[in-house]
Amino acid sequence: MQLSDTDLVLGIESSCDETAAAIVRGGREILSNIVASQEEMHAHFGGIVPEVASRRHAELITVVVESALRDAFVGWRDLALLAVTRGPGLVGSLLVGVSAAKGYALATGLPLVGVNHLAGHITSSFLLAAGGTEPAPREFPALALVASGGHSDLALIEDLGRYRRVGWTRDDAAGEALDKAARLLGLGYPGGPAIERAAADGDPHAVDLPRPDTKDGFEFSFAGLKTALVRILKNNDVQQSTHFTADLAASFQEAVVDCLVRETVEAALHFRARQIVIAGGVAANRRLRESMATAAGRHGLSAYFPPMSLCTDNAAMVAAAGYFEAAKHPPDPQQMLSMKVDAALELPA
């Protein structure tokens, strides 16, 4: 499909806790980016209730889409393409976004493309956000790390719209490991930011924690690290000392960051990547940003991070990923309305 630098794409995202819509120009420039989070609601219930989450997405989706159009000062006629996340994520939540997108496609006659949520995260480093940092240059191949509560994937970006999964986790995702460590340390939810806050006052080398190296390929493993923390907590009375908690948080964060940096840089060198891009909720972690930049720099590589607002789930990344996906694989109008959600969707191998 021929798309120009000025073509506008509406992106829709509802794979997990965020209901989001955005307008992006030319796969690069964000005109609007609306995100409604359900985090508070989950806190209220003490957990996620998939049925309630889906219902909430359904209530919010049209409001969010209309806000995205209004904020960008555009109408349906100005758009060239619709893009929606079709996986991975929670089935019920994905269905809301995909059903809404099909409805909009039918009503407007616009082409619709399904987007892999992970391709979205990868694309976020190449977006120009208002007040944000300079986006990553379009130099390929590049190596992407997507690290969040649900993913720890390494992907080779051969070109925008062409991604290959080259690394993954054997057990827990990086964000999940941080989240569970926060729970063990009694630091509250969401765990990632809580660990980072507590770690600020701690010594990252105070406690010796393992950095599991899986040896074969570019695989992460965080389960052993979690177990090591449990052992330490069993043998020490952490409640007695906030200082020890800070040291543990800092040491745990350092171990996770070390593993992420080591595999990412190794993979980048192996595939002769010209740069590294980092995305997903864990990319918001400042220690990871620092450490990755230093390690990449040692090999003459640059590491790019999206602005904080684009690290967590959003629809601008979906609009941009859809733009590049449609250029490579033009949406077929006959197939568009039979698009299926895929809760376990992965990047191609």
Binding site: G46, G47, V49, P50, T169, D171, T227
Partner: protein, 159 residues
Amino acid sequence: MAAPNGADYAELVVDAASPEETMALGRRLGELLCPGTFIALIGPLGAGKTTFVQGLADGLCAQGAITSPTFVLMRLHQGRVPLAHADAYRLGGAADLAELGIEELADECVVALEWADTISDTLPEDRIELRIEYTEEGRRLDIRGQGPASSNAVRALQP
């Protein structure tokens, strides 16, 4: 769990010194199971629930990598017997089995539910309960089969 009552109850306690031993026990159990088995996995963070399921999946010849299902709540793996690998951790006690989409799959799959003790409604009567706890040397795995089918499976597992 209800009081042990003879024919429909079997229990096996195994000490595992390493994740490999936890996995091996899962594999042996997996080789024995038929569709409709429900396994409730109970144990603290890092105990080895997912590790056990990795072995279980091997025994069931289930396809695809077994990773923590915490984020996605449930993963379905095709195999000799399909495996529904579910996780109630993120539900925080706020939801029930129907919410996980397990109920409609239960008859044709082996269901392995992590954090089963946090779910708000009752688990199937006929079930295998695996409790894992930390010991000085590693882990203690306490496997209890309740009901005709599950107790038979646990009995077959006994040395």
